[in-house]
Amino acid sequence: MSPDRSQLPLPDPETTGPDAVEQFDIAELGRLLKEHRGPLSLRQAAAEAGVSFSTLTRVEAGAQPDLATFTRLCAWLGVSPSRFFTPTATRQVSPLDQAITHLHADPRLTDDAANKISSVLRDLYDALAKEAVPAVPALACHLRAASVLRPGVPQRLADLLTDMNTELERLVEAGEL
């Protein structure tokens, strides 16, 4: 186990667990709401967003909304709720970070024990996971398909969609679309 790896910052369960209020960027929510509202009055905007006038006023001013209000406001803004839990543009939480956060949240483990297991996990992950990362970037493709796919369908569908995307790229490049 390399000593430098053990120095890597671990996600702190205090700030990534369920009580991570400080991770919620309330100021950004208020700013976006104001921006999105534009010339609309608070009353008009609240009606559009489906929240009460007083709630919208408070949230714009920096108060923390409840979950139902938050969900409605995100829908109105057209942004993903996760945006406000990431101070930087987008924060990708890897499965490894998630696992480590869970370890740190486990009351049966001391900090030292959680760090040791995390360190082993990191080593294993570094050694084994890289090969498994898909080489293909995610296709930007909204798919209207059956929600449950029967055996044999996923393979055929994935191949079809990949081939459709390739052909579309070719046609666009050739100026035929």
Partner: protein, 183 residues
């Protein structure tokens, strides 16, 4: 899962606004290909991209496994439809896909099909697109007119080129029959 408050009313307004842009009255049938043109979205039948046989084979393994997809290629949105669908079903599929674009839904969810990652929309956005797609094809004034002529979902579907399923969904969720009866 429920639609955000105010969504349905906004959808009705937006549907009528788009119809005005297309020089259609509130009660005209909407041609989804015209709407796609207007929104500068290309619609391509899947058989132009892959063989018909492969699409039929997929259909044999599971009917309706693939209905439509919107691809983002070089910053452009291209809707790919399944040629094996009926015209009504195709219209519903295209209206649904165009709804995602009108509603500016981001492709934020990752869905894996056989290990192949696809960026797609959230489930609540799917519900919104279905509701908005239905509103685009069958806005309230159109349904009211149809109900006053004593048409049921089957006749509405036939006349306006949508699936009976969609006509029934709009007929039942907009309360138009009740409104006409109440007069």
């Amino acid at each position: 899962m429920t639609l955000p408050r105010g969504f349905k009313a906004n959808a009705e307004r937006e549907a009528l606004r788009l119809r005005r842009e297309l020089d259609l009255s509130d009660t005209d049938a909407l041609n989804v290909d015209d709407l796609a043109d207007h929104l500068k979205v290309k619609i391509v039948s899947a058989e132009k991209l892959v063989s018909h046989t492969r699409l039929e084979e997929l259909e044999r393994v599971q009917a309706y496994a693939f209905s439509a997809a919107t691809f983002q290629v070089s910053g452009r949105n291209i809707v790919v439809t399944n040629p094996l669908r009926t015209p009504g079903r195709r219209a519903s599929d295209v209206a649904h896909e165009l709804s995602h674009l009108v509603l500016k839904h981001d492709l934020t969810e990752i869905r894996e099909v056989n290990g192949m990652p696809f960026r797609t929309c959230r489930p609540d956005e799917e519900e919104q697109a279905t509701a908005f797609g239905g509103t685009l094809m069958l806005p309230r004034p159109l349904l009211l007119g149809a109900v006053r002529r004593q048409w049921g979902p089957a006749q509405i579907a036939e006349h306006y080129g949508v699936t009976e399923e969609m006509a029934r969904y709009r007929y039942n969720t907009t309360g138009v029959a009740k409104q006409v009866r109440g007069r």
